[in-house]
Symmetry: C2
Subunit: 127 residues, 2 copies
DNA sequence: CGGGATCCGGCTTGATACTG
DNA sequence: CAGTATCAAGCCGGATCCCG
């Protein structure tokens, strides 16, 4: 079942409906995709190049999940060859901004994180 | 190997060092744990009860990852029976606040998300 | 170009049992 | 109480082939 390839929902989806959307947003490819789309509108293969390392399948899956959640707008033109543009919806833009805020904050504090890691690893010797 | 149970880093960790920390923070158990610790200081089994559904192993792993990143402080008292308290560090509190900001925003917009999902599913007839 | 369907390997997860 | 060790299973994600 589930031929859309949508990310499966587990029991927690029932306890907390926002959990699924949150995982789409914060997941490995979701966050990178939102980050890329925050900079503009792109076609499928443009995104594939911007979100380095993503496979067709994962990008397709990610975009469908985000579109289904109303965060991404998909504009398919029935031309030949086909042309499909992806862009953030207003809601998607708000989500992306908050996500990027978290990401940029963590990035800015990476020196402190790396320092903490060194202390931790040192105190426990190697393992 | 890797007895610390640290979440393994993949290729992207090299491209973007903050990626690993971000995944600790936004992951399923990481976010719930940070959310729980944002409300106070708790012992291991108190956390286990608050973060409903988490196994001992996952909670232990999550806490170690967050501690190693300098987001959580672990206070182990060598008493008998042992008592270990976990709390956010100042850095962890800042991260948790931004994370919760994103979470609460998404939660607040869930009606719009659910509505978008209905439209999406309807337009594609089930599949 | 923009995807969908399928197969498959490996990592992540979860039970369970054990230790201090 | 606070974890660690071990093991089996299941899902994620990648590669590949195919279609419109």
């Amino acid at each position: 079942m589930d031929p859309t390839g949508d990310i499966p929902f587990d029991v927690f989806a029932k306890l907390c409906p926002s959990r699924g959307t949150l995982e789409h947003v914060t997941g490995r490819w979701g966050s990178l995709t939102l980050g890329a789309l925050h900079e503009g509108t792109f076609r499928f293969n443009e995104l594939r190049r911007r979100v380095e390392g993503v496979s067709e399948k994962m990008l397709s899956q990610t975009l469908q999940a985000l579109e289904r959640d109303g965060l991404v707008h998909r504009d398919a033109q029935p031309t030949n060859p086909p042309r499909v543009d992806y862009e953030l919806t207003p809601l998607g833009r708000e989500v992306a901004e908050r996500l990027l805020s978290l990401i940029h904050f963590v990035e800015g504090r990476m020196p402190a994180v790396l320092e903490a890691r060194e202390s931790y690893d040192e105190a426990r010797g190697g393992r």
